[in-house]
Symmetry: C2
Subunit: 163 residues, 2 copies
Amino acid sequence: MADSAHKVVRVFHEDHGFGPSHDELHGRGLQESVPPEYSEKIISYFFKKGFLRDVPLLPDCQEVVKKLYDKHEVFIVSAATEMPYSLEDKFFWLEEHFPFIPYQRIVFCGDKRIINADILIDDRARNFEFFMGRPLLFTAHHNIHENRFERVNSWKEVEKLLL
Amino acid sequence: MADSAHKVVRVFHEDHGFGPSHDELHGRGLQESVPPEYSEKIISYFFKKGFLRDVPLLPDCQEVVKKLYDKHEVFIVSAATEMPYSLEDKFFWLEEHFPFIPYQRIVFCGDKRIINADILIDDRARNFEFFMGRPLLFTAHHNIHENRFERVNSWKEVEKLLL
């Protein structure tokens, strides 16, 4: 839903005068897209309070999630407890951009194996490891070479598939 | 795990010079334990940042949860998204009192129907409504008259039952 990598790359560039290019991100995580001595630094943004409060939305996300919400029982499940200072940021980001989603449908966790759902749309293949339902891998720079799961490349594709 | 009602009652007394007695809490929620004009006020503490950061532990909770953790796959699932400012407080409270529980085992949600577990220990009967596993109702002042579920009265009883 959120394009947090976009903000990380932008701010990293501002702070260091260089940063990962589009090609360097292709097929790589953020940590592998910079010289090893910067790999901790580029990840550290996620742990800073306020950083995730204003990340951009992925294209068409708002309208497709609204349509999904109107037809299905949608929960937003975010891996957030690894970064405790992201909890408020993520909550208020969701409240701002998805005001139709009530707090009852928001879940912050660390390990998604506890989640009971029919379909899980996620950009992290590791979140499908113990998932019993249908996994949909949402394409992101870091999962390009993952080929074990059904893939969606955009929210428009999610719309076509599930609506 | 946390006796948040204990702090609410103490602080309400400090703020108003009166508050619910032990007998007035018996079988009632906090809101019903005070005159109607105070029912919103007594609940409002839960929404204040910092309030839940230093609530007391229930007796024997730490040691029994440690034993459960060592033998079972324990997740801490807290209804917290209704009170977004409680998220950090709850996380750091858990980190302080249960340092052996990693972030992967912590879940903050609004509606526990999304949780996939074999056993759910909870003091809110409404959290069992859609739960497919074994519910264990942990006795609290507000659920004394609930009789639909298997009940545990203390962490020592949880220990006897599950260990």
